[in-house]
């Protein structure tokens, strides 16, 4: 193989081929493989999902990966390991620098919230090892004999743990200084220590043991899952095809989106990693190997573990939760029911933590390389600067922690940027570099050559596919996220939802009372939570006495059927809280709750009394007025919280935009100076590749 042009500074290179494969696979393998893939598959046709998924792998995943690997290796020959420098070396036009800045922005911004997910995995792993989950689940399921009630209790306990410890229940977890803050700090130190060691001694050395260990742990868990009694039921839930879904555009978009996000292609990670290859190192086979390792983790390990087990132990509803729900609520709950759950839970979250670290490293290296190549900073200085920037970003994410609003919105905008960046990269490869010329470069040193039609694919098919993903994905998600940033919409909507929840109190409590699997203590607890949620806390002891007397009354009576028994409970709730099970013209009642200036609680109580129909005889107007006042206070609280969330989401977007502008300016400055000089030196040494 040829050496680099002599005038360029000596740069690090990967130590071995298997090392780079594992590093790139480690970059791609993350929570998306183990959690997002099964969630997407089960909600989009089951086994049928694999048809668009495999097609997308062939038409989108592999071509983009090959393009990115080729451009990265080419940029490395110019002495560039950073996206702006690589883009500039290949195409000396403004859009290339913008694309380079985008390929810096995305990994660094993702890292600012991904570090929290990494920490969550570590926290769960430690909590399992300590036996914390076993103790928690033991407490909440004490005295519960019914399986459905046990599932509800365990899932509820996990959600409460997540809300409490990770700050999902409120904003400002950062300032509470709890265990999670220290764990975030520990994860930061681990990531930056590894990245400080460099590409070979740090990233490659870590991935060479972390990836095999991760896969080994997952295979052990897979064997345990596949030997569970009646696992075919869970596998059927996951893999049985719903053929009708094949004609649903949503399924095709979900499949292509999953391939794209899962392979982590097109937005700078691979560009950076592949720039550390030598001139004639094989990009075709290495890229395919990294992609196939990712698919192994996704289809085999991801597709056969979580959803089948979740269905088996917890039922369909919990098995179809979203990525976060599946990962951080459903999985711990599964471990309560699985034999040796404590051991397997620790192992599962340990492997997820390793997967998250290998991904985190790939998000940090592009920016480190940019600071080194673009401004001649030492690695220590680059690591220090990036540490400060990412710590600031992570702090903001931990400040706006309620409902994971910052994580959610940052993820949305990053995903959008990822599709744009990948489209730009493929268009650059196909139309600026030239597909034929690019494919020729791709085949340099290849173990086997890519098919001839790949040039056509890269020029026409892949960009079309990507644009379709962009349009479809934006059409599906953009409105809800844009609405989520609008305080004028979010505030009233949250208040209205709370009022509707309050008006459903009678039905909620009746269902709780009718559930014989709940013992008196559990029932009192759940009744308290339900009334507290709509602003009726009262006193726990008083409420517990009321629950006991209501149940005792019911036990002393003989009911003709279940409907009559529910009616009894329903009337008891109506008398106690002044809320009927139904009202005529509910919309006007809800509007009345929200029109605090127009209707006093007493006036609205009279109105509800008139609209309560047959239930009016159980209503006490004074109690209803108290109920209205309390619900209005709670609704106002929700309105304010929703406005804070919407403003936090706006702040996130503003931060991303400003960060991008800053990166564009820095890229421009670097390309005009240090990067420009290095590229010019490479050209003087005989390397000529300007495109466009």
């Amino acid at each position: 193989m040829n050496a680099e042009p002599s005038g360029l500074p000596q740069k690090e290179k990967w130590g071995s081929r298997i090392g780079v494969v594992l590093a790139v696979a480690g970059s791609a393998v993350g929570l998306g493989n183990f959690l997002r893939f099964p969630g997407q598959a089960v909600n989009n046709g089951g086994g049928v999902f694999m048809i668009p998924y495999i097609l997308s792998f062939l038409l989108v995943g592999i071509p983009i990966a090959w393009c990115e690997w080729t451009l990265g290796r080419l940029g490395g020959r110019f002495g560039q390991n950073n996206a702006p420098g690589i883009m500039y070396a290949i195409w000396r036009r403004g859009p290339a620098k913008g694309l380079g800045a985008l390929a810096l922005l995305i990994p660094v911004t993702i890292y600012m919230y991904y570090i929290l997910l990494e920490t969550w995995c570590l926290d769960y792993c430690i909590f399992f090892i300590q036996g914390g989950f076993a103790e928690l689940f033991g407490t909440v399921t004490e005295g519960v004999t019914d399986h459905a009630a046990e599932v509800t209790a365990v899932v509820g306990a996990t959600a409460a743990y997540q809300g409490e410890v990770f700050g999902v229940a409120r904003h400002g977890v950062l300032f509470e200084g709890g265990r999670i803050v220290w764990l975030v700090l520990a994860c930061f130190l681990v990531n930056f220590f590894i990245i400080y060691q460099g590409v070979t001694r740090g990233i490659e050395a870590f991935c060479k043991w972390a990836m095999p260990l991760l896969i080994l742990c997952a295979v052990i868990i897979l064997i345990r899952v596949l030997t569970l009694p009646n696992i075919s039921s869970g596998l059927g839930f996951m893999w049985n095809p719903d053929w009708g879904s094949l004609t649903d555009l949503k399924v095709w978009l979900a499949a292509s989106g999953q391939i794209f996000f899962s392979l982590s292609v097109g937005f700078g990670l691979i560009l950076c990693y592949s720039s550390y290859l030598r001139e004639n190192d094989d990009v075709v086979l290495t890229s395919l190997s990294a992609s196939s390792t990712n698919e192994f983790c996704e289809v085999i390990l991801g597709g056969l573990i979580v959803v089948p087990t979740a269905f088996l132990f917890l039922g369909a509803e919990n098995a179809q939760a979203g990525t976060f729900g599946l990962g951080f609520i459903t999985v711990p709950a599964i471990m309560h029911f699985m034999p040796f759950g404590q051991f397997f839970g620790a192992m599962w979250f340990g492997l997820l933590f390793l997967a998250a670290v290998t991904s985190s490293l790939s998000m940090l290296q592009p920016a480190i390389a940019f600071l080194e190549d673009g401004f001649g900073l030492s690695r220590r200085a680059s690591v220090g600067i990036l540490g400060i920037i990412t710590a600031l970003g992570a702090s903001l994410t931990m400040t706006f922690s309620r409902n994971a609003v910052a994580i959610d919105h940052t993820d949305f905008w990053c995903n959008l940027c990822m599709i744009i960046a990948a489209t730009g990269l493929v268009l650059m490869f196909g139309w600026v570099v030239g597909a034929e010329r690019g494919v020729k470069e791709m085949n340099r040193g290849a173990d086997f050559h890519v098919p001839r039609f790949m040039a056509f694919m890269i020029r026409y098919v892949t960009p079309t596919f990507l644009i379709a993903i962009l349009v479809g994905w934006a059409a599906t998600n953009a409105k809800s996220y844009l609405d989520g940033m609008n305080p004028a919409k979010q505030g009233p909507a949250a208040a209205k939802a709370k009022v509707q929840e309050a008006l459903g109190l009678c039905n909620t409590l009746t269902t709780l009372f009718a559930n014989d699997a709940l013992n008196e203590e559990k029932l009192s607890e759940q009744v308290y939570e339900a009334v507290d949620a709509v602003g009726q806390p009262g006193k726990r002891d008083e409420l517990a006495l009321w629950v006991r007397s209501t149940r005792t009354d019911a036990a002393a009576r003989t009911f003709a059927g279940e409907a009559e028994r529910r009616n009894f409970y329903c009337h008891a709730v109506t008398r106690r809280f002044g809320v009927p099970p139904t009202v005529e013209d509910q919309d006007s009642v809800v509007a009345g709750f929200l029109a605090t200036a127009a209707l006093t609680p007493g006036e609205l109580a009279e109105k509800i009394h008139r609209l309560a129909g047959e239930h009016a005889e159980y209503l006490d107007v004074a109690r209803t007025a108290e109920f209205i006042a309390a619900v209005r206070a709670k609704a106002e609280e929700q309105r304010r919280a929703a406005i804070v969330d919407a403003n936090a989401a706006r702040f996130v977007l503003l931060g991303i935009v400003l960060f991008f502008i800053g990166l564009v300016v820095l890229s421009d400055v670097a390309c005009r100076n240090r990067i420009g000089r290095t590229v010019a030196q490479a050209e003087r040494d005989g390397l000529d590749w300007e495109a466009g």
Binding site: M1, P9, Q10, K11, E12, K13, W14, G15, S16, R17, I18, V21, G46, G47, V48, M50, I54, T145, H147, G198, T200, L228, P229, N230, S232, S233, L235, G236, F237, W239, N240, P241, R278, L285, T286, L288, S289, S292, T293, E295, F296, V299, I300, G303, L304, F311, L312, F313, G315, A316, F337, M338, P339, E372, S378, R379, R380, A381, D447, F448
Partner: protein, 67 residues
């Protein structure tokens, strides 16, 4: 409730089992991925490590560390 009894009770509620079509899609998907992985790693591992890789990259002074 024992795990087995609980699983059977749960499964009885939902009445789902792996159909022939589901089993076939699952098997084909798994075999495709395994085949691709086996092919790639066989091609990678059969080749001797290139000569320049014998020189540990640690010997290269990257000049990007403080010191």
């Amino acid at each position: 409730m024992s795990t087995v009894a609980m699983i059977l009770a749960q499964a009885g509620d939902e009445e789902v089992t792996l159909t022939a079509a589901g089993g076939m899609i699952m098997t084909v998907s798994v075999l495709l991925v395994l085949g691709l992985c086996a092919f790639c790693f066989w091609r990678i591992l059969r080749e001797p490590t290139p000569s320049e890789h014998h020189h540990a990259p640690l010997d290269i002074d990257t000049q990007d560390l403080d010191g």
